[in-house]
C-alpha cells in the first residue's frame, strides 16, 4: 500500500539519518514520528507500517513509543489544539479558572473537539513556563501569561 505522505518525507529522513552516527537508525523513531505527526496531524496505521519498514525497527517499538509519549496522537485533533498546563505554578496563577472558562466557552469536555472540528481542548502537565503562568499551547506554540480574557481574544483571532 502506498503512503504518499511518508514517501514525501523520505528525502528528509535520509538527510536526518546521515547526520546521526552509524548504527543509530533506531534513534530516528522519535524524530520521524514527530515529522509525520506535524504533516498529518496524527500518526496513522499506515505510517507505522512505512516507518517500521524504513528504519528496520520492530513494529512493537513504534507502537510503544506512540503510547508512551504524551505528545503523540493516533487520531486527528481539531484544527487548533489547545493544551492548558494545570501543574503547580500555573494552577497558582489561574489555570483552573482558564480551563473552566474554555470548557464553558467551547462547550466540550477536556479531550473533546468542538462540533465544527476547529478546537480541541486538553490539559497538560508542566511545560517549563512557570514564570509566565498560566500557559496554553496552541499547535505547539506557547501563549504565556494567559487569562480568560486573553484566551477569548486569541480564539477570536484564530477564527
Amino acid at each position: 500500500m502506498s503512503n504518499a505522505l511518508f514517501t514525501s518525507l523520505v528525502g528528509e529522513f535520509d538527510r536526518l539519518r546521515a547526520r546521526f552516527p552509524a548504527g543509530f537508525d533506531s534513534s530516528l523513531t522519535l524524530p520521524c514520528l514527530r515529522r509525520i505527526q506535524e504533516e498529518r496531524g496524527y500518526v496513522a496505521e499506515e505510517d507505522i507500517d512505512a516507518l517500521t519498514a524504513y528504519l528496520g525497527v520492530p513494529r512493537i517499538q513504534v507502537e510503544e513509543v506512540l503510547s508512551f509519549y504524551t505528545q503523540f496522537r493516533r487520531e486527528p485533533v481539531g484544527r487548533f489544539h489547545l493544551e492548558v498546563c494545570r501543574n503547580v505554578s500555573c494552577s497558582m496563577r489561574g489555570a483552573e479558572r482558564l480551563i473552566r472558562h474554555l470548557h464553558d466557552k467551547l462547550g466540550v469536555a477536556i479531550g473533546g473537539t468542538t462540533a465544527d472540528g476547529r478546537f480541541t481542548l486538553k490539559t497538560c502537565e508542566c511545560l517549563g513556563s512557570c514564570g509566565t503562568a498560566p500557559v496554553m499551547v496552541v499547535n505547539d506554540e506557547y501563549h504565556e501569561n494567559m487569562s480568560p480574557e486573553k484566551a477569548d481574544e486569541l480564539l477570536g483571532r484564530l477564527g
Binding site: L30, V65, S89, S91, M92
Partner: protein
C-alpha cells in the same frame, strides 16, 4: 564568596532582540574559551580544571561534574557520547530555557569544550518536546556555529571534529532522568535503567556517556577562561559558583535570576522577585522543583541559598525551580495537583511507583471530595516510604518527599478537610491578593 554575593557567570549581559546571535555572543568573548581549550590545553587538563573547580550538577542531584567526567577513560578505544540534558521537566523549573533562548552559544561552546575533554565525536542535546521556541533558537544558533566553522569537521583548524545533534523528546517527565533520557535517544520508551553499570561506563548504545544538565555544561567555558581557582572563589566553599533560580508562584516578578550560591533567600524573594503578590504574606517555599521538601516562611527567614544551609534545614536546592506560596493557599489542593502529576508521569516499570502513585492520587482525590478517612494520612506516609529507594529511578522517592514534606508541616489542613469535609483555605490555589 565575593563580598556582595553578586557574582555572575551566565547572565552577564542585557537580553535584547539580537543578544542571542553569534556576532553579539562573539563580541562578548564567546568561543574564546573554545579556542584556548583546543589550542593550548589537553583533554586531561580540562578534566582536571573542571574537577578542581568543584562544579556540581545543576539538574537536581548536585553530583560533582569532574567526578562524573573522570570515569571516562580517554584511551579506552571506545566511542564516547555527551548529552546535554535540556528536558527541564521538574515542575517549577524553567532556568535552562533561559540559556537555550538567550545564550545558546554559551551552551554550544561549553559542549564543544566538554566534547574535546571527553573525546566525543557526536554530542546530543536532549530537549523536551514541548520546547518549540527554545528548539528553534538553539537550532538557529547551531546553524550559525556550523557556518562559522565552530562545530563539525576540523573545528578552528585544530583537527578536532564534533557534531551536535538536538534530539527532541515527545512529552515525558521521566525522560529528564539520565538513563531514561538515553533510552529515549535510542528511540524507545523512556524507561530508566538499573545501575550499575553507570552510564559513564555503559550509556547510549552501551557506550560510555556523560550526561550533564544544560546549566552545568554552560559553566565550562567560563571555567576554562578564568580558571578553577576563580570559579571556586565564587559561591560557598562546598558549593562553588552561581545558580540560575527560576522563581514562580505568588511573587510579583516571576522569572529567572542568577544568584551566587550563599545569596540570602529573602533578598531573592523580596528584592529581585519583587515580593509577594499584592503584599500577601509568605506561607512557604518549594525550594527546587516540587520534588524538594517544602520550607515554611519561618524556616527560610534567615536562610541563605546554599546547599550547606538548605540541606540541614531538611530540603534541597534541587533543580533551582523555586515556587513561593502565599498565606491562604490550600496545601491539600496543592498536593493534589502534584500527585495527579506524578501519577500521570509514572513510567510504570516499577510496582511501588506505578501502584503507589495511583494509590496516593486516589486517596487525595477522595479527601478533596470530602470522603477522606482519618487513617488516610498515615497511609499516605506509609505508601511514600514504601516507594523510597525501591524503584529504579528517583521518581518514586521524589513523590514521597513531596507527600512527607507537606504532611509534616501542614497536617492540620488535611485533618481539617477530613473531619469537616472542607478546606481550611477554601481550596484556594490562586493568591487572594491577585484575584
Amino acid at each position: 564568596m565575593t563580598p556582595n554575593r553578586d557574582a555572575r557567570i551566565l547572565m552577564t549581559f542585557p537580553v535584547t532582540a539580537t543578544s542571542h546571535l553569534l556576532a553579539e555572543a562573539r563580541a562578548r568573548g564567546q568561543y574564546s574559551a573554545l579556542d584556548k581549550a583546543l589550542k593550548t590545553m589537553t583533554p586531561a587538563e580540562i578534566g582536571k580544571e573542571v574537577t578542581a573547580s568543584g562544579l556540581q550538577g545543576r539538574g537536581g542531584a548536585a553530583f560533582s561534574a569532574g567526578r562524573k567526567w573522570s570515569v571516562i577513560q580517554l584511551d579506552d578505544g571506545q566511542t564516547h557520547f555527551l548529552c546535554a540534558n535540556a528536558d527541564e521537566g521538574e515542575p517549577g523549573t524553567f532556568k535552562d530555557r533561559w540559556i537555550l533562548e538567550n545564550s545558546p552559544h554559551q551552551l554550544i561552546e561549553s559542549m564543544l569544550i566538554a566534547a574535546y575533554a571527553l573525546q566525543v565525536r557526536h554530542a546530543f542535546v536532549y530537549m523536551r518536546g514541548e520546547f518549540s521556541g527554545p528548539y528553534r533558537r538553539l537550532q538557529a544558533a547551531l546553524d550559525e556555529a556550523y557556518d562559522a566553522g565552530l562545530v563539525g569537521e576540523n573545528i578552528l583548524g585544530t583537527g578536532f571534529s564534533c557534531d551536535i545533534i538536538i534530539y527532541r523528546g515527545a512529552g515525558s517527565y521521566v525522560c529528564g532522568e539520565a538513563s531514561a533520557l538515553i533510552t529515549s535517544i535510542e528511540g524507545k520508551r523512556g524507561y530508566p535503567r538499573n545501575r550499575p553499570p553507570r552510564l559513564t561506563v555503559k550509556g547510549l548504545y552501551q557506550k560510555p556517556t556523560v550526561i550533564n544538565n544544560v546549566e552545568t555544561l554552560s559553566n565550562i567555558a567560563w571555567i576554562v577562561n578564568n580558571g578553577s581557582a576563580a570559579f571556586k572563589a565564587i559561591g560557598s566553599p562546598k558549593a562553588p559558583g552561581t545558580r540560575l533560580i527560576s522563581i514562580s508562584g505568588h511573587v510579583a516578578k516571576p522569572g529567572v535570576y542568577e544568584i551566587e550560591i550563599g545569596y540570602p533567600w529573602k533578598r531573592l524573594i523580596y528584592e529581585d522577585a519583587g515580593g509577594m503578590l499584592g503584599g500577601a504574606a509568605l506561607k512557604c517555599v518549594i525550594p527546587g522543583g516540587i520534588s524538594t521538601k517544602v520550607l515554611t516562611a519561618a524556616e527560610v527567614e534567615t536562610l541563605n541559598l546554599d546547599p550547606t544551609e538548605v540541606e540541614p534545614a531538611g530540603s534541597s536546592m534541587g533543580s533551582g525551580g523555586m515556587i513561593a506560596i502565599a498565606e491562604g493557599t490550600c496545601m491539600v489542593r496543592l498536593l493534589q495537583v502534584m500527585l495527579r502529576f506524578y501519577h500521570h508521569e509514572s513510567c510504570g516499570q516499577c510496582t511501588p511507583c506505578r501502584e503507589g502513585m495511583g494509590w496516593l492520587h486516589r486517596i487525595i482525590d477522595r479527601i478533596v471530595m470530602g470522603m477522606g478517612r482519618v487513617e488516610d494520612l498515615d497511609q499516605m506516609i506509609h505508601i511514600s516510604k514504601l516507594q523510597d529507594g525501591n524503584t529504579i529511578c528517583g521518581m518514586g522517592d521524589a513523590a514521597g518527599y513531596a507527600v512527607i514534606g507537606i504532611l509534616a508541616k501542614y497536617r492540620h489542613e488535611f485533618e481539617h478537610w477530613i473531619t469537616t469535609g472542607r478546606s481550611l483555605c477554601e481550596g484556594k490555589l490562586e493568591c487572594l491578593a491577585s484575584s
